[in-house]
Symmetry: C2
Subunit: 364 residues, 2 copies
């Protein structure tokens, strides 16, 4: 599989939905496979909130395979022998694209807390510029899970003539009150870390690692299914020798702390806040007085909507809402509920049934 990783600069100023302007920006982009001669085989893969451009394969600088390697590759559901797959790190992220850790050209310091609010629409608009840069006239498919699914939906709404198919997986047309509440608890943990300094921690040569760890521990619980947690960890007591700290009693505590700790080493706290705020803010129906059907009427793409039975972050019924609106808006759509025993994270994991549904949709 041909992996091409590039940092692409966009030199014109870019106006965000908020009205704020970035004088220029860069996107870190992976592409897999090759664009065919009439540029008709391009697939855009949009990442979820803590994902990045590294969706598949293992570049020489990568420690592991990409986050959707089970689905993207030669002969896989998203077949790199046939398709040219594009996956950018989102604007505002922390894996190479312009974001809070980048240098603000105005101040010559990291943006930090001054990085502007970014929305799902902003991502789609920046990906539109990327599309033009790569010489792609139309996406065969735009696809993603969770926050990536919101981007796929928004693509089909914002640029109906530029998308043949959209795959909206483990997503919702808007965050629920509980989603927002959970995200705010996570953000509160970060902001109240003594090292947060109103987002300007890099200038202070520090990082709010503790807050980020707590935030991720909570996030992690919402990504797993309750049943899976019960089966895997139950009420098992953590072995004394492998306790992460003296406060641990149960295995689940140790596991969450380990995961949180690891995440806090690599992720940026301002990006965490920005990404969750984009998720909370997404609500295309709000532009049509809360009427999702009206919002979806412009869509030309065929939709695949996938929900997972054990997902409690964006339960399958949230996908059903999208499909109901699609049907009322005369948008061609399929809606599938898969068992997926990994909760919300099921969208990341291969099962034969899941693969078949994706490949049937892609080849249809």
């Amino acid at each position: 599989m041909k992996i091409n990783r590039q940092l692409i600069g966009f030199k014109n100023s870019f106006t965000l939905e908020s009205g704020k302007i970035l004088s220029r920006f860069e996107l870190m982009v992976d592409t897999y496979g090759e664009l065919n001669s009439d540029a008709s085989n391009a697939i855009l893969v949009c990442h979820a909130f803590s994902g990045n451009h590294h969706a598949a394969g293992k570049h020489e600088t990568d420690a592991t395979e990409g986050w959707w390697d089970q689905m993207i590759g030669p002969g896989k559901a998203i077949d790199t022998n046939k398709y040219f797959i594009v996956c950018p790190n989102n604007l505002g992220g922390c894996a190479g694209s312009t974001g809070p850790t980048s240098i603000n050209p105005a101040s010559k310091e990291p943006y930090g807390g001054d990085f502007p609010v970014v929305s799902v629409s902003d991502w789609v608009n920046s990906q539109k510029l990327l599309m033009e840069h790569l010489g792609i006239n139309k996406w065969e498919i735009v696809i993603g899970g969770s926050l990536g699914g919101m981007q796929a939906l928004e693509w089909s709404l914002s640029y109906p003539h530029l998308v043949n198919k959209a795959g909206v997986i483990a997503a919702a047309a808007k965050a629920s009150t509980q989603n927002i509440g959970m995200n705010e608890v996570a953000r509160e943990a970060i902001r109240k870390d003594e090292n947060f300094h109103d987002g300007n921690y890099l200038a202070m040569r520090t990082k709010p690692k503790r807050g980020l760890k707590t935030a991720r521990m909570l996030g992690h619980i919402t990504y797993l299914s309750e049943e899976h947690m019960n089966l895997r960890f139950g009420r098992k007591v953590q072995n004394e020798d492998t306790k992460i700290d003296g406060y641990v009693d149960f295995e689940i505590e140790n596991y969450l702390k380990y995961k949180g700790e690891k995440f806090s080493d690599s992720f940026d706290a301002n990006s965490y806040i920005l990404m969750t705020k984009a998720m909370d803010g997404y609500d295309p129906a709000s532009k049509k007085n809360g009427n999702l059907t009206k919002a979806m009427e412009p869509i030309k793409a065929k939709l695949l909507i996938v929900g997972f039975e054990t997902d409690w972050l964006f339960p399958a019924k949230r996908g059903k809402e999208i499909q109901a609106a699609a049907m009322n808006a005369n948008v061609l759509s399929s809606f599938v509920i898969l068992p997926g025993n990994q909760g919300h994270d099921s969208f990341l994991f291969h099962t034969p049934e899941y693969e078949k549904i994706l490949s049937n949709f892609i080849e249809s």
Copy 2:
């Protein structure tokens, strides 16, 4: 209604389940109504994790009515004209009973992080001493919601001959993996507050208020029903003039922060950790190789088990597990699922149906 509030001292040393010993302790206790001549009308009400002895009425020093005032009072479901109701603040709490904020007789400083781990059994054993002190030979009823329900269940197990009836409301026979995970996120937020100082913050003349606020925000989400949150707050944007801080966008964010802030003013962080650890650790079946039926065989009391449809902290199915074990163990029990649109907190709120079920059980 006669309200009597007293601080009762227990001068003998008290050995905890952990093996640790308290050389003496005090319990802050409310009683309502009057004990009859043969001491046969006593009801023990056990509080939930952030509750206290003030269950009903309004004592001259109280700002508000007690936490179960809707159910306890003259002519109410738990009728103070007929019964003598006892409600102690649990050992390890922060509302007057001996706990982490009390002075350690050994060091003459507040216990702080040195206060020993306390279990549900320890509470029941301390309440047994209280029972003797009050001259009660047998409880007509022991009743409580949430962690209070765990105490009611444990009373019926530990002292089968001292309990006629036990009301186990919105509770579970053990915390789930997800319950433990959520509690650990809350504890992590507290411990990683810069003012926590390993629990010895009082000696440092400070309090981990920020961590406690974050912990309570998360807790609060788990107490509410998702549907209720959607109906009450939805995605409503907070009015600019009433924002608690500049980070708030949605009403739900403001509400959680307001509630968290208020809680962090009054509650003690070490008690928060201690109470949630007691909840996580409770598992009577563990003493019988995980067999709850075996654990429940000694029970002589008649059980009322109540679950609420919208409760996702201890869902109604957790009550059903208790009832199934009761049936297998030949323990007389009734199990009722009520709609309760307040989620887990439904156990606190009066509805005619809920009141009828409680009073029928009490009068049966």
